[in-house]
């Protein structure tokens, strides 16, 4: 059940500071859209508006519409909690709940909606999700140990497992691999490839190879200078962006010998 997202006239603010300006784009269902751009251009900020996580920051607000299959996520009758349940998120920094065991971390989201989940189902779900995040083998013997005892990479994969477990329609990932080693990164990239047949996926990455490898479409953001809002420069098929971008700025950014 993938969903299409249409963004229109979107301005994003931190109190009075406009961090992102005039975004207009469409995120296609059953595909991977990558956001690239220099640090501070508002990739994370924009990503967070897609599941209304932006508004949990005091003073933060948006103008414009973000529509999922024609339903405005910011509509008056839409519940942000329901939005977030449909649009899952993996953060830049791994953030497992330190007070929960590994298994409980995976089940955290599931338990919200379905308190009485049978033990067998729970175990299956934990195993599936952890396998999906390529973490199962490393932690299968210590599912009841705290999640905070894992290494950074392991923690991030745990967070991915947690987000997958709720089976969202859209999955937002903010540099999910920046703390991962190549093996895990590969596994996640494989996973993304697998998931995109069913889900809409948006990923922020600094790694252009990664963007090129995993994404179908790529959006390039840039900002004119500090204190200026970030803007969407161009969005197109990944192949086009990396081979023949329309904008000079994109060309410049991509042609750097970046890793």
């Amino acid at each position: 059940m993938a969903q299409r997202i249409d963004v229109k006239d979107l301005n994003i603010y931190y109190s009075d500071f406009r961090a992102v300006a005039d975004i207009e784009m469409a995120v296609e269902p059953r595909s991977v859209t990558a956001f690239i751009g220099p640090s501070g251009c508002g990739k994370s900020t924009f990503l967070r508006t897609l599941n209304r996580m932006h508004e949990v920051i005091p003073g933060a607000h948006v103008q414009g519409t973000v529509a999922m299959d024609g339903v405005d996520l910011y509509g008056a009758d839409v519940d942000p909690v329901a939005v977030r349940r449909q649009v899952g998120m993996v953060f830049q920094r791994p953030n497992p709940f330190p007070t929960m065991s590994i298994a409980d971390n995976v089940l955290a989201g599931v338990r919200l909606n379905n308190k009485r989940i049978s033990k067998g189902d729970a175990q299956d779900m934990v195993e599936q999700s952890l396998k999906g995040a390529n973490l199962w083998n490393e932690v299968k013997d210590r599912l009841d140990r705290p999640g905070s005892g894992l290494s950074g990479g392991q923690q991030q994969r745990l967070c991915i497992a947690r987000a997958i477990a709720v089976k969202p329609q859209v999955l937002l990932m903010d540099e999910p691999c920046s703390a991962l080693d190549p093996i895990s990164t590969l596994a996640i990239e494989d996973l993304i490839a697998e998931l995109k047949s069913e889900y809409t996926i948006v990923i922020v990455t600094h790694n252009m190879q990664q963007a090129a490898r995993v994404s179908d479409r790529t959006a390039f953001f840039n900002l004119a200078g500090t204190g200026q809002p970030g803007r969407l420069i161009e969005i197109d098929d990944t192949a086009t962006i990396f081979s023949a971008p329309r904008e000079q700025a994109t060309e410049d950014y991509i042609s750097g010998r970046f890793g």
Partner: protein, 321 residues
Amino acid sequence: MTTIAPEAGSPQQGNPELRALLRQVDKKRHRVDRFMKGLVYLAFVLAVVPLVSVAWTVVSKGIERFNAYFLTHSMRGVYGGMDAGGVYHAIVGTIEITLFAALISVPIGLLTAIYLVEYGRGQLARSVTFFVDVMTGIPSIVAGLFAYALFAVFLGPGVRMGVVGSVALSVLMIPVVVRSSEEMLRLVPNELREAALALGVPRWLVVIKVVLRTAVAGLVTGIMISVARVIGETAPLLITVGVIDSINYNLFEGRMMTLPVYVYRQFQQGLVPCAPDQANCIATITYDRAWAGALTLILIVMLLNLVARLVTRFFAPKNFG
């Protein structure tokens, strides 16, 4: 700028199934959320009710005698139903004794908290943590008896002076300082300690300049709690400091008066028998003074809190949240 035009259609249309999904909140969860919100607000109101009631009682009964004269005069030579007497001597005593108690407790308490958080491992740390908790259970009057006995060993029986009271209050104050400071220090992220250590900063400077600095808001709150905890103590001060009706600035010699003792004693004296022909006699004078003294004490603590708040604001980490 090339963007794919969003699909036409007003937001009122769109996928009805999804629309339902996004609107249809789980009723029960929503209700729990609202209910808990209600409870949380209720909790607040519940706490405000006694506060308002206490404040109203003290202010309405104390305001009459609460004036400049009351604040600047002592009780020397005042007795019976005289329309005279103030709390200056008690203010002096309360402030000096409490500050000195803080002077003893805060360094010891803070250092102990630092020890527990930064260095403490093993048996000693476990014992300290444990016995600090036990220490919170020392009844105040026992602390007073202890301090009195301690000084009596060195200075002979009948010793009455401000410091003895300060020591008694310290016994009550230290565990509160330790406990609250410990909690606050533990909340300082390890990352910050490591960042500083990796810059070649010696441990003690890391503690002072990074850990304490980061936790300062919480620490000040904790210290204010501990001050508030002891500033209203009566029984231990009666035993250790005695009572006096004149001004005594010297913490190290002679009796002192403190506000809580003043309030308690005035209250305990009860009604004054006024002969009908006595013009200058107020039967309820002791109660009036007691309430005005209570008002003074509350205002002093509020003032201290306010200062602490300003200090906190000054030092607080200025982040965007």
